[in-house]
Amino acid sequence: MYGWIWRHLPGNAWVKAFISLVLVLAVVFVLFQYVFPWAEPMLPFNDVTVDRGMAAVR
């Protein structure tokens, strides 16, 4: 998979490495900006209030 991407990037090894770095940073940005904020409320790690159970919407 990553080998395939590497072979299909243009340029020499340095250019490929640079493009790879940009791609990695772009993926991390999308994860931090959109994916994680979306996923976090669905995961049971950060509820801090007491409530009446599933019926009560916080």
């Binding site: 998979m1 990553y2 994860l31 409320p41 790690f45 950060n46 209030t49 007491v50 009560a56 916080r58």
Partner: protein
């Protein structure tokens, strides 16, 4: 993993059919392996996001809003409108034992509010009292980890430690008198105006801090109760009460 790797390998195979089958299996296995590694990296990034990046964002947001509240206090007159402005935040909580500096207190405990790195006072399931009320329980929630982690050190609070709430014109000095180190997340009785589980039977001016426990999870809730000891008028220099000096 590279194509040349198994090309050389399969050249020694006797016939083309098994060679192709082995090539397909090898690429399938290598793709699965890469996906697993990717999943691991994403989970590690998620941990970094939850425990570090959300703190950065929340602290930035809370500082901005806190500055706004202070500016608002400074510009509006001593008894003018805005003595209690619930939109921007009603004041600041200072807990020396938690050593996290001041935290802004806002109305509501929805995650959108708490994620701004503030402490929120309950509006439901049990409506919180406010510090200036004659009787009542001022009930607050904040994050233990991530999003500012304002109540991270709640376990450092011991009986007798001060919890100070700063409003525009008054310092409210509470003293911790009871803690509940682990309770069900459905235990809403801890928020009652007279929190019986803390041992109190009579109406008074109480404060209740709630957050999740153990750290990094939210299986249970950690509760700290305090009772108002005294109030002090805020002077022109906003001199801090002796508990905060």
């Amino acid at each position: 993993m590279t194509a040349t790797g198994y090309d050389e390998d399969t050249d020694r195979s006797p016939s083309p059919a098994p060679r192709r089958a082995r090539g397909i299996i090898a690429s399938v296995v290598s793709v699965i392996g890469e996906l697993l590694i990717t999943a691991g990296v994403i989970l590690a990034l998620f941990v970094a996001y939850s425990l570090w990046w959300t703190n950065v964002l929340a602290d930035r947001e809370a500082n901005k809003q806190g500055d706004q509240v202070r500016k608002h206090w400074a510009t509006s007159g001593p008894k003018g409108p805005g003595a209690l402005d619930t939109k921007d935040g009603i004041g600041f909580l200072h807990v020396p034992a938690m050593s996290g500096g001041e935290m802004l207190v806002k109305k509501g405990t929805d995650s959108e509010i708490l994620n701004e790195g503030v402490a929120g006072y309950y509006t439901e399931p049990v409506k919180s009292g406010l510090p200036q009320d004659k009787k009542g329980n001022f009930t607050l929630a904040a994050h233990r980890d991530g999003h500012g982690a304002k109540f991270h050190n709640i376990d450092k609070l011991k009986d007798g430690d001060p919890i100070v709430f700063e409003s525009k014109d008054t310092w409210y000095i509470y003293k911790v008198y009871a803690t509940l180190e682990e309770t069900s997340k459905y235990n809403v009785d801890v928020l009652d105006a007279v929190p019986k589980e803390s041992g109190k039977r009579q109406a008074g001016r109480y404060i209740t801090l709630t957050t999740c426990t153990p750290v990094y999870t939210s299986n249970y809730r950690y509760i700290v109760w305090g009772e108002l000891e005294r109030t002090e008028k805020v002077d022109a220099d906003r001199t801090r009460p002796k508990e905060l000096r």
